[in-house]
């Protein structure tokens, strides 16, 4: 056994001899490490998922007001609709030479807290949520018929509600505002209309998975719904055609022939017009939202750093407190020929070992936090986070913990370094 192996034996034995404090310190280091990694990873992945996730549209046209609310309401199916815009506006942008695809959304109902969106079958036949990728059905599912009371259920909505192809359900009035399926907003009055599920969609890992899609005509004709396209109340009558001037939609989802066309449309709608708002580009709107919420993330980061500091302090004190009882051990080792730097290294190595063990266990903590966070975010928004997605923090944090361990180990190591062999041995005769 050479000096290095002796060093490792000293470290290993000390960790075992002080098993309780070692365990507590390792766990606190693991919590710190896991928390820091999770804070950074959740923030980065959330931002990436919300700002750059599978949206498929370039812009959202909606009622005059907040672009952020418009995007939250139509892309992420959160919050309430800021209001409606007339059907004529939808027709107008649909015919615009720069617009490749315009799909109307009408919201206001739910089924067991899951948002119901009235739209056109183009959402299944033309819309690509990522380039080249349209919604796909599970098994023999198919789009709804625009003139029938039929519905298509997103994958997550199907999981939560239990709806499957052929099932019949009755929508209720109101929309869930915070993504909480258990507490939808609105009066909860169940409509008389019954809808048949024609298909369940395959997962897209996007908020669309939490949506139940029905024909937009169904929203217009739902019992109790009032259309104010002309400014006056209008209720659809069974069997009668609804004149276009009475129709209104919550929003129109737009895909331009070229993304650059959004600027012209934005100028047209936001600067010259007064009745609507164009949220464009969608990713920028979300990014601005994240910028505004950046302070929350910074506070979380600060808390995580403080936890690391506390863990480092705990590590320091747990080793420092053993120094008095170990002074005799160091004196004996020195008497056997161990150099000062050997005992110094033993203590620093011990602290670093605790950090390494903590960091390794930290991955478990990280995985747990990520799994819980991902489940909550998926439940609330439909956005899916990947626990195993790479983030620099997954390497930087353990390295930082190692550095904290080494620094924390220096203080007790200096005490071991300064052990006076002769006097210590004499005192322990």
């Amino acid at each position: 056994m050479n000096s290095l192996r002796a060093l490792l034996l000293i470290v290993r034995r000390s960790l075992r001899e002080h098993a309780l404090s070692t365990t507590v310190t390792v766990v606190s280091a693991a919590l710190a490490s896991g928390l820091v990694m999770a804070v950074f990873a959740v923030a980065a992945q959330s931002r990436a998922a919300f700002a750059g996730g599978p949206v498929g549209f370039d812009a959202v046209l909606g009622a005059r007001g907040s672009a952020t609310q418009l995007v939250l309401n139509t892309v992420f199916h959160l919050e309430t609709s800021p209001g409606n815009i007339p059907w004529s506006l939808y027709k107008e942008v649909r015919e615009d030479r720069t617009v490749e695809l315009a799909i109307p959304y009408a919201v206001g109902d739910n089924y067991r807290g899951l948002r119901i969106v009235g739209t056109t079958p183009e959402i299944f036949t033309k819309f690509e949520y990522v380039k080249g990728q349209k919604f796909e059905f599970v098994g023999y599912g198919e789009p709804f018929d625009a003139d029938l009371r039929q519905a298509v259920v997103g994958s997550e909505a199907a999981r939560i509600s239990g709806l499957k192809r052929g099932d019949v359900f009755q929508p209720s009035h109101g929309v869930p505002v915070s993504g909480n399926a258990q507490n939808p907003d609105g009066n909860g009055v169940q409509h008389d209309e019954r809808y048949v599920v024609t298909g369940v969609l395959k997962p897209t890992n996007s908020p669309s998975d939490r949506v139940i899609w029905i024909p937009i005509e169904g929203i217009f004709r739902m019992g109790g719904h009032v259309l104010r396209g002309t400014g006056e109340n209008f209720e659809a009558q069974a069997g009668a055609v609804i004149p276009d001037e009475h129709k209104e939609v919550s929003a129109v989802m737009l895909k331009f022939k070229s993304p650059i066309h959004g600027r012209r449309m934005e100028d047209l709608i936001n600067r010259q017009g007064k009745v609507a708002t164009l949220a464009w580009p969608i990713a920028n709107v979300v990014a601005q939202l994240f910028e505004r919420l950046g302070w929350v993330n910074r506070i979380l980061e600060l808390v995580a750093y403080l936890v690391v500091l506390v863990a480092g302090g705990g590590l320091l004190s747990s080793i420092y407190n053993t120094m008095n009882e170990r002074r005799r051990e160091f004196a004996i080792l020195r008497a056997l020929g161990a150099r000062r730097r050997t005992v110094f290294s033993a203590i620093v190595l011990e602290a670093m070992t605790i950090s390494v063990l903590g960091s390794l266990l930290g991955y478990l903590v990280y995985g747990t936090i990520m799994a819980v966070a991902a489940a909550i975010i998926r439940e609330r928004t439909g956005v899916v986070l990947d626990t195993f997605e790479w983030h620099p923090a997954l390497v930087q944090t353990p390295l930082a913990m190692l550095a904290v361990g080494a620094i924390a180990g220096i203080f007790p190591a200096r005490k071991a370094y300064a052990t006076d062999v002769a006097s210590t041995l004499s005192r322990n005769l």
Partner: protein, 226 residues
């Protein structure tokens, strides 16, 4: 040529009130390779300080301590650590075994910082001393006599050229003391190591051909002060 040669060695201590107190003043002392010498001395006579200086644990204030021709007094602390690890074995009065380690690990540590611990040799030593069934026992699980034998094995584990023993039988009963002494002397003889032993036990001292009265050797203990 002497293995150890001490000349005009002086060590002073400064008391808390600032008074300089000479504890060691040795004009001349030498030990040949493989020789076994006993120093007779009472408690507080400075013999442990002498052994610590010879071992390089303490630095001398003045004088010369040469080991195999090399001046120990001129070495820095790290070099003295290396000298101690490579050349010396040390048996302490209270054994000073490491409580967290097994008997075998304690012995391995005896050679770990010099030429490198040899587990097989460490085990052989313990087997030779009749501790083959106690290899994994910790010190508190051993009798006093067994602890003493572990301490002896540890002192020899690095194949030293000189063993320093400070009252090595002080905690043993007379029978065990004689037995331990024989083991120590036998091991040193077998390895060709010189032995410098300090004791005040006549039974122990009587076993050595060469005895030195430390009170005579150390002029400071005779009232010769600076």
């Amino acid at each position: 040529m002497d293995l150890l040669h001490v000349e005009n060695l002086i060590k002073d201590y400064v008391s808390p009130d600032g008074e300089v107190q000479r504890v060691l003043e040795i004009a001349n002392f030498s030990l040949a390779a493989g020789e076994q010498v006993a120093l007779r001395g009472s408690s507080g006579s400075g013999k442990t300080t002498f052994l610590h200086i010879v071992a390089g644990i303490l630095a001398a204030d003045r004088g010369s301590v040469r080991f195999d021709g090399e001046e120990i007094v001129d070495l820095n602390e790290s070099q003295r650590d290396q000298y101690r690890a490579r050349e010396l074995g040390y048996v302490f009065q209270s054994f000073h075994l490491l409580g967290a380690y097994s008997a075998l690990e304690n012995v391995i540590f005896g050679g770990a910082f010099g030429s490198g611990g040899d587990p097989a040799f460490a085990e052989d030593l313990l087997v030779t001393l009749g501790l083959e069934h106690r290899l994994k026992h910790r010190p508190h699980q051993l009798s006093i006599g067994q602890q003493q034998r572990v301490a002896l094995a540890r002192a020899l584990a690095g194949r030293p050229r000189m063993v320093l023993a400070d009252e090595p039988t002080g905690n043993l009963d007379p029978t065990a003391a004689v037995e331990a002494l024989e083991l120590l002397r036998g091991l040193c003889r077998n390895q060709g190591a010189a032995l410098l032993l300090v004791s005040h036990d006549p039974a122990v001292l009587g076993a050595f051909d060469r005895q030195e009265d430390f009170a005579v050797l150390n002029q400071a203990s005779r009232g010769v002060t600076p």
